[in-house]
């Protein structure tokens, strides 16, 4: 009995590995796709064996470089350090370039303030002299001052992802209304729209504290945490969030998990010229979960209607969202 169970388990593992290898190799034909789907559906154990094999495969993809390096080192102890060193050059050069920029920049230039602005729907990547990279979403405006002792950004409005070059001696500070975000080296997203601030950390750690004179306490955020705050209030909430989802706007997608429709509309209004309004407060508060692909406004509104039963009505210069089947039907 035990023997036959073992056999099944092993055969299942072999099939799972074969399917993962097959899928990773390229497109499936119709017959293969049907067979794959049937095999997965045949038993939950098959699906779970597939997940295990895929997770192992992903682990190796993610760690390909260090695993290859370590295997090479074991094989040939003398040649290995050269390999290891070469593999590090890319990283080192990048760090060195950033460090160099940090050393040179303050001496060549007096701290000066630059303003960056994006039109609605425009995405823009800004590379700062210290090596930090800012991705600006549509309708954003911010100013940057790189000084000797600090790097300061003021986010007037909109959303941006900050990929901050490490420099322990010059903290990177983002002022967003009555809250200030302080970092050393990390990647994070700050969104400031309609008096609502959110900060999501992808890497490293940041600190969000009340700007001089404002009330409230400070928070230290770790990767995968999202802080939300309404300006003028003392309350702040911190919850888990997937940074990949929050940063998805850089690839032309907006991902929501239970955010109110009003927030979705605020985001869309940064992308398109025609303003969208919601007059019904209950509708504005409706939680939205799903993915919106940003191409043209009419298509986006059509897809929004798949997530929540709304229809768009032209009104003056803009568009008003109404609950389907409401009032004027």
């Amino acid at each position: 009995m035990i023997r036959s169970w073992r056999y099944d388990d092993d055969a299942r593992r072999a099939d799972a590995a074969a399917w993962v290898a097959r899928l990773e190799a390229g497109d499936l034909g119709d017959a293969e796709a049907t067979a794959f789907d049937a095999w997965l559906s045949a038993s939950p154990a098959n699906a779970s064996a597939f997940d295990t094999a895929l997770a192992v495969s992903h682990d190796y993809s993610a760690a390909a470089l260090p695993v290859a390096r370590e295997l090479a080192r074991r094989r040939a102890p003398s040649a290995s350090s050269a390999v290891g060193r070469r593999a590090f050059v890319g990283v080192g050069a990048m760090a060195a370039a950033a460090a160099l920029a940090v050393v040179i920049a303050p001496e060549l230039t007096v701290a000066r303030t630059d303003t960056y602005e994006t039109a609605k729907g425009e995405h823009r990547t800004v590379r700062l002299a210290d090596g930090s990279v800012l991705d600006l979403n549509g309708g954003a405006r911010l100013t940057v001052t790189l000084g000797r002792g600090s790097r300061e950004v003021t986010l007037d409005q909109g959303q941006a992802v900050f990929d901050v070059a490490h420099d322990a001696r010059r903290p990177f500070v983002v002022a967003a209304g009555d809250r200030t975000v302080r970092v050393v080296g990390t990647q994070f997203d700050v969104r400031r729209l309609d008096g609502k601030l959110s900060v999501t950390v992808a890497r490293g750690a940041v600190e969000v504290r009340p700007t001089d004179g404002a009330e409230g306490r400070s928070y230290r955020l770790r990767p995968g945490q999202r802080l939300e705050h309404r300006e003028g209030q003392t309350t702040t909430t911190v919850a888990a969030a997937d940074p990949a989802e929050v940063l998805a706007w850089r690839a032309g997608r907006l991902v929501y998990r239970g955010q109110p429709l009003s927030e979705v509309v605020a985001d869309l209004n940064q992308q398109f010229e025609t303003p969208i309004r919601i007059e019904d407060p209950a509708l504005a508060a409706t939680p939205i979960s799903g993915v919106l692909v940003l191409d043209d406004q009419a298509a986006v509104i059509r897809r929004l209607a798949l997530l929540v039963p709304v229809s768009a009505v032209r009104s003056g210069p803009g568009v008003v969202l109404r609950r389907d089947g409401a009032s004027d039907r």
């Binding site: 993962v20 190799a25 699906a47 993809s61 760690a63 990048m94 229809s311």
Partner: protein, 181 residues
Amino acid sequence: MSLLADPGAQRPTDPLLEIYLERRENLVRFFAARCGSRATAEDLAQELYLKLATRDPAVTAENPVALIYRIATNVMLDRARGEARSLARDAAWRQVAHASVAGEDVAEEAPADEAAAARQRLRQLVEAVAELPPQMQRAFRLHKLDGKSHADTARAMGISVKSVEKHISAALRSLTARLER
């Protein structure tokens, strides 16, 4: 429109949508294996749903399951084409994040216990590969670790593409057996 607006409340009448909803988990697995990321897979499954929901329901197929997988493949290829630029940027970002995990500023990235766990996992991954039979190991290293295609791996080893696929699949099978807890 209102029919499509709320798939939860009202059962879709389009048979393709029904099949999709039954097999959503399978399709997410399909995407995850094809594109190498769980998060992207969820995203693509959502996009596939939108594609199916907005297509002409009058068009049917003899083998609707195969049709869905074909549309799924197209959704993936469309995305790869349409967003080659942002994908390249994402990849570059992943590389940087990856490099710094492998590199020296690990302490800033993760607390000590997480870094220790990552090192432990890395050791397990390395040992599992080191125990593979030589040919299988060579194929796995060339393809999976050095990123060569099946065809290039076959050329480097002087064997057929079919044999490479067999080696990779057998390697993954023993690695899974070894690493599984």
